[in-house]
Structures are given as structure tokens and as C-alpha cells.
């Protein structure tokens, strides 16, 4: 399979960051960056990275299953990650998560039929002092309220 020239350049740099013979160290960054471009850790991605790093597909599967950000199934174009951990919970994070489930009509790890939105309950994302917080893909949203969620979803629907 082929990656974009930008990703190829990134990969080429990445493997030089580690001591000779230790190129496997690039595995997790490569998986995450490839996933960002392809949309999921597909069997083709595993094969390709296996070939490049000389790590067996089985060993890659082992790694993929460990890390919560790596996933084999595609997600929505906008992946909502709602923190319900302690600081967010104290300020309504769990209720926001329930609200989103209802609003989007999907469960935890679900994807809307149009492929636009997906939802995940996540652990602390490092925004505790500005809680409740969530991430849409990699973008942070702080002090989230139902109204702000409504507006955000409306805006995202409009741009797509």
C-alpha cells in the first residue's frame, strides 16, 4: 500500500531517531500516524509496517491491542472523546456523555450511520482544570456545556 508523500517523509525521518538496529522503536508513532491518514489500523497497514520495520504482524497486533488510541475499525469523521474521569465527573462530564449518546443516537464506541460522528468515553485527557472537557479528533474543548455541544455538532454538520 502507499502512503502520502508527507507521511512517507515523516516515516523516513522517524526511523533515524533511534539507535541502529532499534528501528522497531518507531512502531507506535508509525501506527498512530498511519491510522490518522488511513482511518484505522487495517490489515494492509499492519502488513506494510511489518515489512518496513521487520516486525511480525503478530507482534504488531500485540501492540495494537494494548493502546487505546489504536483501533482496527474506522471511526466517524468527527470522533468525540468525552472525559468522565474524576475532575470532569465532578462537573457533569458523565451527564454530557449520556447527552451525546442520546443526541447522536449511538452508544459508546458507536458510529452514526452517515459516518460523520463517533463517540467514546475516555479517561483523563489532561484538561482537568478546565473541565468538563472533551476532544473531537485531536482538538480540545474545555468548559463544555450542552448548549456548546449542540452548537459544535451543528457547526460540524454544516461544514461537511
Amino acid at each position: 500500500m502507499t502512503f502520502s508523500p508527507e507521511l512517507e517523509a515523516k516515516f523516513a525521518r522517524l526511523v533515524t531517531h533511534y539507535p541502529p538496529g532499534r528501528e522497531r522503536a518507531a512502531l507506535i508513532p508509525m501506527l498512530l500516524f498511519a491510522q490518522d491518514e488511513v482511518g484505522a489500523i487495517t490489515p494492509e497497514v499492519v502488513q506494510e509496517i511489518s515489512r518496513r520495520l521487520k516486525v511480525s504482524p503478530l507482534e504488531i497486533e500485540e501492540v495494537v491491542s494494548y493502546y487505546s488510541m489504536l483501533h482496527k475499525e474506522p471511526r466517524g469523521r468527527y470522533h468525540f472523546q468525552v472525559c468522565t474521569n474524576i475532575s470532569c465527573m465532578l462537573l457533569g462530564g458523565a451527564e454530557l456523555f449520556e447527552y451525546l449518546k442520546e443526541k447522536l443516537g449511538i452508544d459508546n464506541h458507536g458510529v452514526t450511520p452517515d459516518g460523520l460522528f463517533s463517540l467514546e468515553e475516555v479517561e483523563c485527557i489532561g484538561a482537568c482544570s478546565w473541565a468538563p472537557a472533551l476532544q473531537v479528533n485531536y482538538d480540545y474543548h474545555h468548559w463544555v456545556t450542552r448548549e456548546r455541544l449542540d452548537r459544535l455538532i451543528e457547526d460540524l454538520r454544516k461544514v461537511s
Partner: protein
């Protein structure tokens, strides 16, 4: 970007450039004493650098509070192996969001801290292991690294001194356990984040089996000021054996949650009242987790405590990662205990049995207590399972799950008891012959 207003009671050493225009750029950094500490370090023998860090009483900001200078002194400089500097930017402890603002607002301060450490132990390569969710910060750091190369602060023959040092960012991909130092090193090598048996400690055998200095972001960020102004000046900001300031991430039921830089030893009640603006809605304080969810909870009456490692330990908890989680009188402690255990159960790597099984059982029992389906013996069972985990796990994640849980059931036992189902009279079944 700053997400909360600074507070006048703050003592801004590590955050001194926050809010300056282009605080991320090397020009701003250089115009405000940037890389001055490193330039000084270049003129000092390595032992003197470590001595200065020891004098500063800087203790690790990642959670355990181990003296940084002492840790650096364990690195065998004479070893023929390459040495590494590794930054722990995994920031996964619930309640903690301070490393994020340090990297976002002043990335060069972190790079300078790494350079000084590299100089002290003779390292030529550094990695910043950063949690995958912090993607935009990786971009900020990569830009700062590029600037530092362009100006001769990184790379070959740094500032004409013959010193070499390369720095790379390295992304994680979602795992709390990868913040544990030995699991982090496994992850850095492209593996599952399972902890390593210790000893040997990373100082002797760390990244790629080589001697490694591994510290938290904030620990490294304190080092430039220590070299610039002297270790004694930094030490004087704090309390005995607890040098300097630290960033507290105040969260929960306060009027002004935020990340604030305060001297070590700052009183917790005062932090809540004056810096945090008191409890929301004029309610009463019920309890505080003083340093992230791995720390035992303090009841309101235990909160008149100086926030340094030793004082908080004396009060029966830990200063931890500086995540101060404030709860008002309406807080349901059973729900808190359940949510915290769900976290540890989810994040337990499964490598060792007491942690894997212990967290699963604790979660199940706590959930059934919360749902009103518990048995009277469950409360003691929670405490007993937790106690049996203590000290019996491969890495401290098991302790981090067990210690706070013991504190919840001990200190708020009546709330757990109130959740027990009322005794219902069992009807005698009709015997149908």
C-alpha cells in the same frame, strides 16, 4: 495559550514567560534569559551541575518526589554505553494538566532543562515521550526543536563547545501505564507498555538498555532556573527538603479552577479559598485529593496542610503529581470510589496478577455497592482486597489503585453503609406438596 487567569499569589518561576507574546518562540525565550542556565552549565564540570541540582532540593514532579540531583548522580558517566535523557510527558494521572501548559507555553524551557541534564550525565540523545492525545503539543515541540537546531542549541558541536545533543519527540498511543517509567521505556522501544523488573533502575539500564535520566516535564522545566539563579535561590522558595515552586492543577468544585504556580508548602485550605476562590455556590468543603487520583483522600478537617511532599505524607496522603481535586459537600464518595477504580481497572496492563485481578474485583464490588446490591461484608472486603494488593504488584499501579480505595472506605464508611440494601423480610415460600 492560557486557559485560566493567573493569580496574584502565584510565584512565577517556571511560568514566568506565560502570557508573553510568542512565548513559544526562541526569540522570546532568548530575550528573557533563555538558555542562560545552559550556558552556565557549559562552563561547569558535570559534578558541579549535579551538585547545584542537589542544593536546589528539586524533587521529582511526576509523583514520587525523588530528589532529582540524587537520581542524576546514579548515572554511571564512565560507562562506555551511550546515555539518554528521557522526558516523561505522558501526563496521565487523573486531575493533572500542568505538563501540558508548560510545554504549550514555554517549550524551550523544557529543551534547556534536557540540555543541562545531558551535559550533567554525558548524554547525546534525548526523547520526549508524550501522550498521543497531546498531538498539537508535539507540533509545538517539534517547531521549538527545529528552532533550537537552527540557532545551534541542538545538534553537533553545540555553541562551538564540542557537545552533541539530539532531541526527538515520541508519541504514545493511549495508555496510563506508559507513564510508569519502566513501562514508558518499553513503549519507547515499540512494545506493549509492560513494566520492567527493577533493579536495575533506568539510571543504570533505561532506554535501549543504556543509562538514562528519566524525569517528569516539570522537573526538567525547573532546571534552567536552578542553574541560572543558583540552587540555593530555588531551594529558598520552598520548605526544607522541598525546593522551589510547583504547578498545582486545581480542579473540581472551586470557583476558579486552574493551573497555578505556588511555592512548595503553600497551605491547602488557603489554596482552595484564596487562589481557587472558595467552593462553588457557597457550599462546604468535603474532601480533597491532593495529588491526583493515586493519592489517598483528605477529609475537610485534614486539609489544613502545607503542600510539600513531607507534610502531605505526614497527613496520610501524597503530594503526587500536583493535581488538587476539590469536592464539596454534595459529592457522592461511593461514586468517586467507583469511578476511580474503573479507571485503574481499565488501565491495569494485566501483566501481574494482584493488579489485574484485584482491580477487576474491586471494581465489581464497588459497582454493586453503588447499585445498592452490596452485602454488609463487602465494605471490609474492599479494604481487605486493597490491602492485599499493596506492595505485591510489579509496578506501583496496584498501590495507586489500592491506597486511595482504602481511604475512601475508611474515611467515608457511613456512605458505603447507607448504600446497603435495607433488610427485607424474606417471605417463607409456600410449600406445595
Amino acid at each position: 495559550m492560557l486557559y485560566n487567569e493567573p493569580h496574584p499569589l502565584e510565584v512565577r518561576v517556571l511560568t514566568r514567560r506565560f502570557g508573553l507574546p510568542n512565548s513559544q518562540s526562541i526569540d522570546t525565550y532568548l530575550a528573557t534569559d533563555g538558555y542562560v542556565g545552559f550556558r552556565k552549565a557549559l562552563e561547569m564540570p558535570p559534578e558541579r551541575i549535579i551538585e547545584e541540582v542537589k542544593i536546589s532540593n528539586l524533587r521529582g514532579r511526576g509523583g514520587a518526589g525523588f530528589p532529582a540531583g540524587l537520581k542524576w548522580s546514579f548515572v554511571p558517566r564512565e560507562s562506555p554505553k551511550p546515555k539518554y535523557v528521557v522526558v516523561n510527558a505522558d501526563e496521565g494521572e487523573p486531575g493533572t494538566c500542568k505538563d501540558r501548559v508548560l510545554m504549550e507555553n514555554d517549550p524551550h524551557q523544557l529543551l534547556e532543562g534536557m540540555l543541562i541534564a545531558a551535559r550533567a550525565v554525558g548524554a547525546e540523545t534525548g526523547y520526549i515521550y508524550i501522550r498521543g492525545e497531546y498531538r498539537y503539543i508535539i507540533e509545538i515541540l517539534d517547531r521549538a526543536i527545529e528552532e533550537a537546531y537552527a540557532r545551534g542549541y541542538l545538534g553537533r558541536n553545540i555553541l562551538g563547545t564540542g557537545m552533541n545533543f539530539d532531541v526527538y519527540t515520541h508519541t504514545g498511543a493511549g495508555s496510563y501505564e506508559c507513564g510508569e517509567e519502566s513501562a514508558l521505556l518499553e513503549s519507547l522501544e515499540g512494545k506493549r507498555g509492560q513494566p520492567r523488573i527493577r533493579p536495575p533502575f533506568p539510571a543504570v539500564s533505561g532506554a535501549f538498555g543504556c543509562p538514562t535520566v528519566l524525569n517528569n516535564v516539570e522537573t526538567f522545566c525547573a532546571v534552567p532556573a536552578i542553574l541560572r539563579d543558583g540552587g540555593a535561590a530555588f531551594a529558598a522558595l520552598g520548605t526544607p527538603r522541598n525546593g522551589g515552586t510547583r504547578l498545582f492543577a486545581l480542579s473540581g468544585h472551586v470557583n476558579r479552577p486552574g493551573v497555578y504556580e505556588l511555592p512548595m508548602g503553600f497551605n491547602l485550605l488557603r489554596m482552595i479559598e484564596e487562589v481557587g476562590g472558595g467552593i462553588r455556590g457557597g457550599r462546604k468543603l468535603k474532601a480533597v485529593i491532593p495529588g491526583g487520583t493515586s493519592c489517598p483522600i483528605l477529609k475537610a478537617e485534614e486539609c489544613d496542610v502545607a503542600m510539600d511532599f513531607d507534610s502531605v505524607a505526614k497527613a496520610g496522603s501524597m503530594l503526587g503529581s500536583g493535581g488538587v481535586i476539590v469536592m464539596d459537600e454534595t459529592t457522592d464518595m461511593v461514586k468517586v470510589a467507583v469511578r476511580v477504580m474503573r479507571f485503574y481497572q481499565h488501565e491495569s496492563c494485566g501483566w501481574c496478577v494482584p493488579c489485574r485481578e484485584g482491580t477487576i474485583w474491586l471494581r465489581k464490588i464497588l459497582e454493586r455497592l453503588d447499585a445498592g446490591r452490596g452485602q454488609p461484608s463487602d465494605i471490609d472486603l474492599v479494604a481487605e482486597i486493597s490491602r492485599n494488593m499493596l506492595g505485591r504488584t510489579f509496578c506501583p499501579l496496584g498501590d495507586a489503585a489500592a491506597m486511595p480505595t482504602i481511604s475512601y472506605v475508611q474515611k467515608f464508611r457511613e456512605e458505603f453503609e447507607a448504600r446497603l440494601p435495607k433488610k427485607v423480610a424474606v417471605e417463607t415460600p409456600l410449600v406445595v406438596v
